[in-house]
């Protein structure tokens, strides 16, 4: 084999390896498969956590859930945990009887956000109905939510950890552009 052919073979092998590294495991497109409480069900006693199960593993960093009651307050505590394909959040004691909506927003492995709602009806007032202080409904970092107000996309109360990165990105862009200009200038012959 000539050296050129060997190099081409090496490049092809490297390409295949890189392709495998980039390829994702075989999952179906992210879809809600079930929830607890189940969709459109009647619940007698207020649960202290709600969970959703999807058809693929979900990453907790990108998942957010809200549980909005008939009085408009969000009872989700804001901390979402994920175990494999199941995402759950604890809820503070639920309030009046009526229709509750679980809003969710997760991100599938191909990077696309998936949103939706599940609803259940609480048939008897929960322990929180007597209390007058509802859970905070608005997050300071609430994102532009195209769905109804029931979905609070950024339920996590993680404090600001670290500076925004966009100045670095702008710097990198300027650096690359300047480097290209320099290379072209230096490469100009006669």
């Amino acid at each position: 084999m000539t050296r050129a052919a060997l190099r081409l073979l090496a490049a092809t092998v490297a390409a295949c390896v890189a392709l495998l590294l980039g390829a994702a495991p075989a999952f179906a497109h992210t879809r809600l498969e079930g929830s607890n409480p189940a969709d459109k069900s009647n619940v007698d006693s207020a649960p202290d956590s709600v969970s959703l199960s999807f058809n693929e593993d979900i990453s907790a960093e990108f998942a957010s859930m809200s549980v909005v009651g008939p009085d408009g307050t969000n009872y989700a505590t804001g901390q979402v945990s994920a175990a494999g394909a199941q995402v759950s959040t604890a809820v503070s004691p639920l309030g009046p009887a009526g229709a509750y909506t679980i809003g969710y927003r997760v991100v599938s492995d191909d990077g696309h956000p998936v949103q939706g709602k599940v609803s259940f009806t609480l048939t008897a007032p929960g322990p929180g109905a007597a209390a007058a202080t509802p859970a905070p409904a608005a997050e300071p970092t609430a994102a532009p939510a195209p769905a109804t107000t029931a979905v609070d996309p950024q339920a996590s109360t993680r404090p600001d950890e670290g500076a925004p990165i966009w100045p670095w990105l702008v710097g990198a862009v300027i650096l690359v552009a300047a480097g290209a200009v320099v290379a072209l200038r230096l490469g100009r012959r006669s």
Binding site: L19, P25, G111, P113, V173, V176, A180
Partner: protein, 321 residues
């Protein structure tokens, strides 16, 4: 009347790029992508995705022309040098767009404006999600193409043109194989067909565009390179068609989805564009066989149509069926 060009005209490729990017956003909006995201986020991800695709395909095309040209002829070497200079410019554009693309897609994933993202946010997005890992690979390939082009400017023998072509193709493949295909039911088939589809489309579109821009005014060189490219283009057309049909079938799953969803509408539009392109290609070959080289105006129309198709493709990547 054969004026030797002093510099390839950069306005036409810029126009093609604008056509592709605008097509992406319009097509995505029409296909209902706004249901899952906001307009600023869609603009950010759409522009960087389509723009990055255009830059990547341009890199593939420029590298391909370098490979197709005859070796040793001084005029061919001059054109190769022009191609390498263009690769530095376009490669850096690809790198920039790939980097910004990561930022916008991560912002879309988190559901926050891109200005609020922190370093750890980006790190989590690029490592946890397959799409993130694929995007990093694209950045790496774009950087490698840029580095190779700069090296070739110093000494063309440092890096073979084939190497640059392979790296550019690899950078084009990663968004597709970590996108929808990787999360569909018949995973292995879907990933392979998408990879073939993107590779064939990149060679075809990029090659035609680069030929036009670099060799449009050099009749003799065009006469040697065009027949070789035409054969390659024919094979690419066949691969694009077959792999496109297979991918759409895996993704849509039913005829109803084809006709009644936004995603299906995009697929139909792409198929229509493909038929038109195939027809144009056939006409071009006939004219070449009759001895009328080059068919610049036809090819210009063809590449513009390809730019629209590129935009449709980028919109498809952002839309759920």
């Amino acid at each position: 009347m054969d004026r030797t060009a002093t510099r390839p005209d950069a306005r036409t490729p810029a126009l093609w790029a604008v056509v592709a990017v605008v097509s992406t956003v319009v097509a995505a909006v029409l296909a209902g992508a706004l249901a899952g995201t906001t307009l600023p986020a869609l603009l950010g991800t759409g522009v960087t995705r389509a723009g990055g695709d255009v830059a990547g395909i341009a890199c593939v095309g420029l590298a391909l022309v370098g490979v197709l040209l005859p070796v040793g002829a001084p005029e061919a070497n001059r054109v190769r040098r022009r191609a390498d200079r263009a690769l530095v410019a376009v490669g850096s554009a690809w790198l920039v767009l790939a980097l910004l693309g990561i930022a916008f897609r991560a912002a879309d994933g988190y559901g926050r404006p891109v200005t609020t993202l922190t370093g750890p946010d980006l790190l989590v997005w690029t490592t946890n999600l397959a799409a993130g890992r694929g995007a990093l690979l694209t950045v790496a390939c774009a950087a490698a193409v840029l580095g190779c082009a700069i090296a070739r400017l110093r000494d063309p023998d440092l890096v073979a043109g084939r190497i640059v072509l392979v790296i550019a193709l690899l950078g084009m493949l990663t968004p597709g194989v970590t996108g929808h295909a990787s999360s569909s039911a018949s995973h292995e088939v879907a990933v392979t067909t998408v990879a073939l589809h993107v590779a064939a489309a990149s060679l075809w579109v990029g090659g035609l565009g680069a030929l036009l821009v670099l060799l449009g005014r050099r009749r003799e060189l065009l006469a040697t390179a065009l027949p070789r490219f035409s054969t390659l283009a024919g094979a690419c057309l066949a691969v694009v068609t077959v792999s496109g049909v297979l991918t759409a079938q895996v993704r849509l799953g039913s005829w109803a989805a084809l006709f009644f969803t936004g995603y299906g509408a995009l697929v139909i539009a792409k198929a229509g564009a493909l038929v038109l392109l195939g027809g144009l290609g056939l006409l071009t070959r006939r004219r070449m066989a009759a001895g009328r080289v080059p068919v610049l105006r036809w090819a210009g129309i063809e590449v513009t149509l390809m730019a629209v198709t590129l935009g449709l493709a980028a919109a498809l990547s952002q839309t759920a069926p």
